[in-house]
Symmetry: D2
């Protein structure tokens, strides 16, 4: 299949590699061209603009950092909206807001193009290992068209129905759950530590016996090893995501007190200069000795 | 082994049954005698006071609702402290506070008795199925003495070291994590529902693909089926437990904002008259149409 | 002075009346024309667009409900930006965000026009009574130009320096303080009520003896009389304002936990259908018997 | 009048002086005897125990730091309960919890003694200047008996009815309001500061024009001058008081989210080592550069 691939960050790069490895033709665009050239050594073609990546493509995959980046790539000058052939599908895998997804889907529909929302659960290692999970929503025929790519990139996918924004909402709400779990684990570890109980033992019980969850195991490990760098998922992206949840709640007059709390913790951590560290860095706010550093 | 068993509630009853089934002699006491007589039909002896259950016992198991109940059973008139033989061990499986555990352990030690803190993770069905997990702490020889009982009641146990309060703290911090997860799941389900996304599909993704955790699966199911009665674990006990966490934090000048939030949610739910419903009832506070009912 | 006056809501109308009463020429525009015609009976000229109100004006006063409304009036078709004479000053009295204020100020400056941020503290009765207080910021000569109008509308004003956004920030932070006080008073009254202590007596002590503040007296009175309608200041505008505070905090990576809490309370109250009631309606969330009603 | 006076701390000392100055006979007791001897130079008699201070007294004034101290003074060995003559009145001016007040009042009643709850609003300077305000509750004849003392110590008092705990609840709820205002002022000042708006100007507007309240003026001043030492009111006492509010709420299943937030802030500040600084120190948690220091 002819695939345009836009966004070669920590997640996009291994995902694009997996698409290449599955035998598809990839024309890749990245704002910083160096990463596209890196992919070229593995067989990708390098595009000099989103439009060039989208031209002649059957599917255009986007994996970008936020709503603004996606809007630029879709609606901006040399954007994909004008360049994609009728009948092509935009496979939109970034974590973006509901309103942005709806707007992009509509604009594509008006040009006879498809839009499939397909955000992913998993960190860069899962992307590389093809073990991440994908939630996809959009018209059934468009999802079907993207199936080979979804299968090339993840361990499988859940079809979240025809509303193109639904998959994005599932992702946003899911990330809200993960960030709430991180915050709670951070507090719990601080509590046992201050009482001189071994936090390793505590996390073993919690992760393996109580929750029996790799998420708890993973963030427990990060906390215990103090391994907040390099970021698997950057704190500033975590902040962005919890803001998307708050915004989605606000649209329906729904208060999300856990999300409000997590947002405040992300902001304080950002103010500590931890914006590019792992989002689990909010755990450090419980440490005696933590320093609330200067303005970011 | 000669076992005194005190407290035959939703948890204590199936646990006592498993002790009986493993071939031990059980002398049981419950405040409401009827439940002790029920157990008598399965071979237990009925005691008319905690002291009577403790007399001649090698191990006295307690499974009570809160710190006050345990203090009554240990220090009260006809309490176990005066009745237990020297050398016997109090296997204290209730979820109680750190300070109470320390006080009981000291009093037992002064009489040459042992104290093992051994709270459990699991709801009544897990107690019945012997699939609950136990965390035990205390002097190694006392834990060793209790091993046959621990193995008769749970799927296994984690040794949390010699501090008798350590196991209780692990339990308190663990319950704090579960209640935070419940609150977060409730908010997330409310969010996807209000956006007309299928919450079943959302919880499938979250429980099976993202967290891969039976805890998330369980509370997702409760939320989706609105099955808040009968309680697996009563809301008023959940409130008690999060207060134990806050108190343990306070002793070390540690703020636990997630626990503060969950406490407030439990209180509001209590004010709605849901104190004897499942602690997952805090999820209902997100429902439009929920009624904040009269004083409890 | 020739004055364009745009926005004749609960606040704008009495303010415009006071400008007229001080002997200035007023050309007024309101989205709903009826209110402009009402003012015409008191000597104002009616404009059919913001542009028409701004043409030939020395000062254009705007008193609008939110950032979107102000942007429409400034930058929209038939907006004031294109219509105002060079040298004229935009006296911007709405409660708007820092970024919007900065953008408007710059656009005016590029056309040789002035911008003075001048939001007000006070409810409609204070606007009518000329007892509201104004905070003004902008170039000294522009503030000076507006002085007669500021004096015609308020009890006085504080000069907050040359940054046109400064006055808006003071207003936003000030409203955050008022909303925090409302929330706290609501909780305190609920607390004394549930303990059968007379809340009237409590508020007398608090308002007259402890805080000695008309703000506490006012919101105490509203709470005690349950007088949440008609709104002195609508809850949906309160929500907007606390969001402006959160956004201003976010720009500087500053968590504002009180504002987060108040935002959540406003959202829940909105979900109860109280969006057009007084913002003090969040106090009702503490009442036993309050109903969390349907989607707004 | 013959007066026993127990508790000569920052507040008690100036209050006792005013009682002396009004011409009453004072027999004073303080845990640290030095302060009692200081007062002896002004005409007081020194007692070597609470009981000795209470013997023969018509009214026994207590001004102590917390519930535990009061319980010790009332019920402890050499406590006032056994020593007070029948018909004498305990004028209990400490900020204590509702349950403690009820218990003390009952015990006194059983011995034919009176109990008047009479906590005060005001810091040490107000105590010295006799400008603090008192809220008193208890049997009318007992309040009447205390009137000369109440008038000697404060600017006046509010009669909160016959329930001896009512005055204490008013005090607790009032302190909750003040601490909420401190937290909100701290956040607001941080917000304007980070945007380079002059916080002095902001507080002038807030304190003099919007709230017109000495409380806001006072805490604004403390924030702007960074004058957190010496404490007017110690942070650890502020923490105690907000816990009394949370406990009073809990008794009636009432969530107090503002109080929960303030409690968490006090705890974090305590962990920073600020327990003996002014309770306004929570404002420093918003400062970039603040250090979360070691265990207290």
């Amino acid at each position: 299949m002819k695939v345009g691939f836009i966004g070669l960050g920590n997640m996009g790069m291994p995902m694009a590699r997996n698409v290449l490895a599955a035998g598809h033709q990839v024309r890749a665009y990245n704002r910083t061209a160096a990463r596209a050239h890196e992919l070229a050594r593995e067989g990708a073609e390098v595009a000099s603009s989103p439009a060039e990546a989208a031209k002649d493509a059957e599917v255009v995959v986007t994996m970008l950092s936020d709503d603004a980046a996606l809007e630029q790539v879709v609606f901006g000058p040399e954007g994909i909206l004008e360049a994609m052939p009728a009948g092509a599908v935009h496979l939109s895998m970034s974590t973006i807001g509901v309103a942005t997804a709806r707007r992009a889907a509509q604009a594509h529909a008006q040009r006879g193009q498809g839009y499939v929302g397909a955000p992913v659960f998993g960190r860069p290692d899962a992307a590389a290992a093809r073990s991440m999970w994908i939630v996809a929503s959009g018209a059934p025929e468009h999802i079907e068209r993207c199936r080979p790519l979804l299968e090339a990139m993840g361990a499988g996918f859940t079809d979240a129905g025809p509303d193109p924004a639904a998959a994005h909402l599932v992702k946003i709400a899911g990330n809200m759950l993960i960030s709430a779990a991180i915050e709670a684990v951070g507090e719990a570890i601080a509590l046992v530590r201050r009482h001189d109980v071994d936090p390793r033992l505590f996390m073993e019980v919690v992760a393996e016996r109580v929750f029996r969850s790799p998420i708890y195991a993973n963030y427990g490990r990060i906390a215990l090893e103090g391994r907040f760098q390099p970021a698997g998922f950057k704190l500033r992206h975590g902040l962005k995501d919890v803001k998307l949840a708050l915004q989605a709640g606000e649209e329906k007059a729904l208060a999300l007190p856990v999300a409000s709390l997590v947002r405040d913790r992300f902001l304080t951590a950002l103010s500590c200069g931890w914006g590019d560290d792992d989002w689990a860095s909010i755990m450090r706010l419980n440490e005696p000795g933590a320093t609330l550093a200067g303005r970011p």
